[in-house]
Amino acid sequence: MLTREQSAEVFDRIRRFSSADEVEAIFTGSRFALTRFANNTIHQNVEEENSIVSIRTNFGGRTARATANQFDDQSLRRTVAASENLARVQAPDPDLLPMPTAKEANAAGEGARSTRFFDGTAAITPADRAEVVKRIVSVADKHKLTTAGIYSNSELREGIFNSRGLANWHHQTLAEISITMLAEDSSGWQKLNSPDVSNLDPQRLAETAARKAVESAHPREIAPGKYTVILEPAAVLDIVGFMFWDYSGVAILDQRSFLNDRIGTELFGENINISDDAAHPLQAGSPFDGEGMRRQSVPLVENGVVKRVVYARATAQKMKHSEYAGKVGPIEPTGHGFPLPNEIGEMPLNVVFGGPEKPQGVEEMIVSTERGVLVTRLWYIREVDPYEKIVAGMTRDGTFLVENGKVQCGLRNFRFNESLISMLSNVEAMSVPVRACGEESFDMVVPAMKVREFNFTEATRF
């Protein structure tokens, strides 16, 4: 992996090789290792190291990008030339801005942010991962279950340099454990990640997944319909993640957002508060966006009212001069842009749900439920209706019937077709938000939720 100093040296060469008005280089370096297990054995075990440079050139309102993973002069010259050749043939884009200076990019300040690099995570060896897997398998054996999952660790370096003096750098680690426990006709699942591996407790995750598999054995089938559901945080994350692409200035301008004509309205229940905050202590990731702009904390939803969306620099400028100005809340660059050029603009990627006044744990939610469904995890979620924000998907790996304040039995899995607008208007209780991860959406800080009238439309056969 290239260090910051090595990347700066590469950028100096890129500048020398370029004839563009402006040039930018994004460096991404990673060392990633993952041990995968199934059938109580390690069956895949991988490690990779790579460094990438992605070069953007600007010529009088025209821009393009070329990317490579080799750093000799010949490769860099070829990549610079590819970027310039792609840029030169385009018509000028009147919305393209000059690259940000360091002063502009860093004006928002870094915020109170603790380190996201942990030596303990970076130092994990294949033998360490095997030892953890062995402990997980022991839990499976103890419960006469079959386990499958992963244990990974990675180190990531990200940097952005441009010819106007910007040089921002980020260095972090991430460890992740995901465990499925399988019984004859049931399963359980748990997943967690953190920059600091000491925040992960594989034994506890394995025991919880095993308990879910055991307790959901011999699942009953009940008729689909509208049920009160208790969604664990991973289930909340995976379903709500489908709406955040729309919290984008470009999505509004393109008229592809479900927030078109809805910003400023009370779209959700008044207990819903959502912000985007890259500096939140439970968040991970880079403090700057694809142009190097510092990511700012942005309140998106307050008391159920959608307040605003996020903006890349050019989107904010365009929005200010659009028919939507004055109708979409504050308009300013927020540090949420994707690397240019792109069509989608920006989106919030460090979503944090606000905690409720009176948080309830999942157990308390169960106790207060006369009849409902406890959901561990949702799966294969896809958008059915982009404006009503109806999404379809399945429950998976631990779905339970709750009756009279108790978990009664496992259930055969359901298909749902649920509007996120409806869901977030029907939240009866929430837990304290936690860092959660799933498979359908990006990591977030979300609570468990008790939701009434969740729309299950079919049951499957297992």
């Binding site: 990317t67 993973n69 379809a392």
Partner: protein
């Protein structure tokens, strides 16, 4: 490039590997888009590196590096062996590979025009023409187009003596018109969603797609959907166009026949499969008309799953998956072939690039066309009541690949053999085997196309590869329609 693979194999062997293979892969990509009359993005990328896969102490290890210097390649090989020995600490049995002749071969995707010899101006000019055609239709609020080329050159060498040099090209293009009005966003795509149509061909693929010629019609349909009736809920006869049937095959046949899923290797992420081993040769998967193959050979067509050798050196094959409705085959690898009593791998192991471990992937999983001449118009004419659906819009299926729901962009009611009123928001759902058993007609070869699915995700870390799905329009009886909007 080849010298790096030799270095890796020697180093792995010296460290104790009982089997090793090394792949150097060089990938070049061009990606161009337009949006509302302007270039959306213009980018090119290159990626080069080596992946070393070994068996040591009876277990797997894999390490990859972008640095092809001698020291780094040897270190990567040594790391792969170290990883394999760590894997062996948690194993139940040694890995054994089905025997395979060590192939020595060169192969390149047949093409007429190397897409990278075409100019960016030419590419963008075509996209912007299409874009303009769509925006010429009143009511279109967003027009997006895209074009993508990839060239992947690989050198595969194994400790068993395989030495295979392959170069694969893929080309894709397509577009979508959106119309936002009132409280609805409607869209139409051409020739398919997922960025259009993708095949392993050269630029001739783009030239044959009639992109400009269809743009106005597609845009008009997006706008017209706002005035269409909602697709009803109920049980109906449905006719699916070839592209939607291609995705139906992908999700409800292609994934469940992956033997690694069946054996539980994907249980934590992609899921398992309802197609447990005892069903092989016995399960009535579909009606007598359902004949499906997994065919990676060039003679099947230029699909995204077409190659000469897979990423563990096994020659491309055609495997009968469903024969006259009966389930007859899985997708297998050298490691898994023995579990179904096969003497040899089915040749389906592929990796996303140099830095990923090859795994069982769909090749071209295709339904064979009907033998009797039958066009789409003739099929509709032979349908008294029903709904004809086109172009995928949403897709979801459970983790055993049994219960599915698909939404399409557009539909038309069929009444007395004629397409009548347009319907918006069509969807259908069902159980995999019940659905395929309800197929009672399929169009013939002249309606058959080899569709590309460029975005198939699987594995941890996730790998995205392209798969091919040949299909022609087909008819299904007694299908549940409209569940996606039920209760909303």
């Amino acid at each position: 490039m080849k010298s790096a693979t030799h270095l890796a194999l020697d180093a792995a062997s010296a460290r104790g590997a009982t089997y090793a293979d090394a792949r150097v892969v060089s990938i070049r990509n061009r990606s161009l888009t337009s949006k509302n009359g302007r270039v959306g993005h213009a980018s090119e990328s290159e990626s080069l590196g080596i992946g070393v896969r070994v068996i040591a102490d009876g277990a797997w290890g894999f390490a990859a590096s972008a640095d092809l210097s001698r020291a780094t390649v040897e270190a990567a090989a040594a790391r792969a062996v170290e990883i394999a020995k760590a894997s062996a600490r948690v194993k139940r049995a040694d890995v054994h590979l089905a025997p395979e002749p060590a192939a020595v071969a060169e192969w390149t995707t047949p093409y007429k025009v190397d897409p990278f010899t075409t100019s960016v101006e030419q590419n963008l000019d075509l996209l912007l023409k299409v874009d303009a055609e769509m925006r010429a239709v009143a009511g279109v609020t967003l027009a997006e187009t895209g074009m993508n080329f990839q060239r992947e050159e690989s050198w595969f060498l194994s400790s068993e003596g395989a030495d295979i040099h392959q170069t694969k090209y893929s080309t894709g293009a397509g577009y979508t018109a959106y119309a936002f009005a009132g409280s609805e966003i409607q869209k139409r795509s051409y020739p398919n969603s997922f960025g259009g149509q993708w095949q392993n061909r050269g630029y001739e693929q783009i030239e044959e797609m009639k992109l400009v010629e269809n743009a106005r019609r597609v845009a008009e349909e997006a706008v017209a959907l706002h005035h269409a009736d909602q697709c009803p809920e109920g049980t109906y006869t449905i006719v699916l166009d070839g592209s939607q049937l291609g995705l139906q095959i992908h999700e409800s046949i292609g994934h469940p026949i992956e033997l690694d899923r069946v054996l539980g290797m994907e249980a934590n992420f992609a899921g398992t499969s309802f197609l447990t081993l005892e069903k092989l040769g016995h399960l009535r998967y579909g009606s007598e008309l359902v004949n499906v193959v997994a065919d990676a050979r060039q003679e099947h067509g230029p699909g995204l799953g077409t190659f000469a050798y897979d990423d563990e050196g096994v020659a491309a094959q055609s495997t009968p998956i469903i024969t006259n409705g009966r389930f007859t085959g899985y997708l297998s690898s050298r490691e898994t072939a023995h579990t179904i009593g096969a003497a040899r791998s089915g040749g389906t192991l592929r990796a996303e690039g140099w830095n990923r471990l090859p795994m069982i992937r769909m090749t071209n999983v295709s339904i064979l066309p009907g033998e009797k001449p039958l066009s789409l118009e003739q099929l509709i004419a032979a349908t008294d009541q029903g709904i004809y659906m086109e172009t995928n819009k949403s897709w979801s299926i459970d983790d055993k690949r049994y219960n599915f729901q698909f939404g399409c962009e557009i539909a038309w009611e069929i009444k007395h053999g004629k397409r009548v009123r347009m319907l918006k928001n069509p969807s259908y759902s069902g159980i995999t085997t019940e659905f395929w058993n309800s197929m009672d007609a399929i169009c013939s070869r002249d309606e058959w196309a080899l569709w590309g699915t460029p975005n198939c995700g699987k594995g941890q870390p996730q790998q995205v590869v392209g798969t091919g799905h040949g299909a022609s329009p087909a008819r299904f009886r007694n299908i549940r329609v409209g569940s996606a909007y039920q209760g909303s």
